[in-house]
Symmetry: C2
Subunit: 254 residues, 2 copies
Amino acid sequence: MGEIVSICNQKGGVGKTTTTINLGSSLAAAEKRVLIVDFDPQANTTSGLGIQKNSTESNSYNLVSGIGDFTPQKTAISFLDLIPSTSDLVGADIELIDTPDREYRLKKALAPFVENYDYIFIDCPPSLSFLTVNALTAASFVLVPVQCEYYALEGLADLMKTIDLIKQSLNPELQVSGILLTMFDGRNNLSHEVEMEIRKHFQGTVYETVIPRNIRLSEAPSHGKPVLLYDIKSKGSECYLELAKEFLGRRSPA
Amino acid sequence: MGEIVSICNQKGGVGKTTTTINLGSSLAAAEKRVLIVDFDPQANTTSGLGIQKNSTESNSYNLVSGIGDFTPQKTAISFLDLIPSTSDLVGADIELIDTPDREYRLKKALAPFVENYDYIFIDCPPSLSFLTVNALTAASFVLVPVQCEYYALEGLADLMKTIDLIKQSLNPELQVSGILLTMFDGRNNLSHEVEMEIRKHFQGTVYETVIPRNIRLSEAPSHGKPVLLYDIKSKGSECYLELAKEFLGRRSPA
Ligand SMILES: Nc1ncnc2c1ncn2[C@@H]1O[C@H](COP(=O)(O)OP(=O)(O)OP(=O)(O)O)[C@@H](O)[C@H]1O
Ligand SMILES: Nc1ncnc2c1ncn2[C@@H]1O[C@H](COP(=O)(O)OP(=O)(O)OP(=O)(O)O)[C@@H](O)[C@H]1O
Ligand SMILES: [Mg+2]
Ligand SMILES: [Mg+2]
């Protein structure tokens, strides 16, 4: 049965989209069946996989509004499908405000797909709004990318409280799959200090794999490809393959 | 009369908070009276200026809800005051959903402060939600920081459309003060390509001053200080002082 994993952090620019695309495609390379849901109206995951925004009816807005017959889109990577985003998603929270089950819309909408995939990843927008609450309610795991910078560190405690609240009120099965350190720059103290601080405070929930700052990761999206296809020899690609191994290792039955 | 400037971009992590703090404090160093409103529930501007979040009644949630008697907080920098943020701000859009003038709350709330300051800067969250719409409705200018990366470039066209919509429907006076290129890294092609692309498409609205990627800018917030106080000799500090000069130059009567 497919496992739903939300990639969340309300702090902006911490590597949510980059992790969704590159962890997703590394698992697909290992022939795991992966579905990615782009749940951010910015649609960065959609364009990072080379797909036009607003180009199909089977998009994440129609998914959560319960409209239409659904076929996820194939991508250039076998074993990796996508439900693309659309700018309509911006209005979803206001439109669905009076719906009785508004927080469970995504969970219900994804139920038919769970048996066709091993993993379903949801890329979230940088906020704690309706879309992110829906993603956390639908998921069994949440993966939290954290940039090795001060503001990202500061926001982590708030995010963990929010995850706890969702676990208590909307989704008792929700567990933290792990905190992922991103954009680590070994040449500066700040990255080392932030890593130390996070490993101390969140012992046991931090991935061993650390994603370094690597220019290939920020070039790949302009070619509409995951870094695995753009430059497999790069440090960025190597580290996301490492992460995929660790991610699978954490899941296999103890 | 004080000019209200919103610092906006729905793309996360592009340097909105860093620009609000460092442009604000550079203008204060030039003895302009500056008020900063932290309108992001993450409260990064608040902590970046060394002030505790949720520590005062005169916060941006009470400002927009119309509660209480207001005195902006003094900061460690003379001529620079702050209306800090609080996590309560997360709920403001749902709470004020039925208020008739919901988009004009901030504009009305800031009116009494306009004659006491030369500039009022509003740091926005990474979204196009109620808070950002309020900030764009209150402002006479909008300054758009853009990271020199692909996703930030991609989102710019959408943002400009949104600004146009606000200008037509809610705030006819709104003008784009300028697009500011941030985290520019001269060693990589991507930064140069993005700069070229933006200067071509948005001719005339891009600041000449470019903010380089500079480690001092990301270290300063952990000391609760603008970069001017943390390391005045740094490239980051120099460039924000340059920006302040250019910002003032654009404003003086032609
Ligand atoms: N390890 C890395 N090294 C270098 N650049 C990176 C790395 N990870 C991400 N980036 C770049 O940094 C920027 C921010 O990353 P990304 O867009 O994935 O973050 P996000 O959390 O999804 O942002 P948002 O909050 O806007 O959704 C992007 O331009 C991306 O290409
Ligand atoms: N020019 C720069 N050089 C190096 N680091 C920078 C620079 N500008 C900002 N930063 C760092 O990059 C991160 C993102 O910047 P910042 O938080 O100001 O962006 P933001 O747009 O306000 O983010 P959000 O969308 O979450 O509000 C921060 O950790 C900040 O310290
Ligand atoms: Mg993203
Ligand atoms: Mg910010």
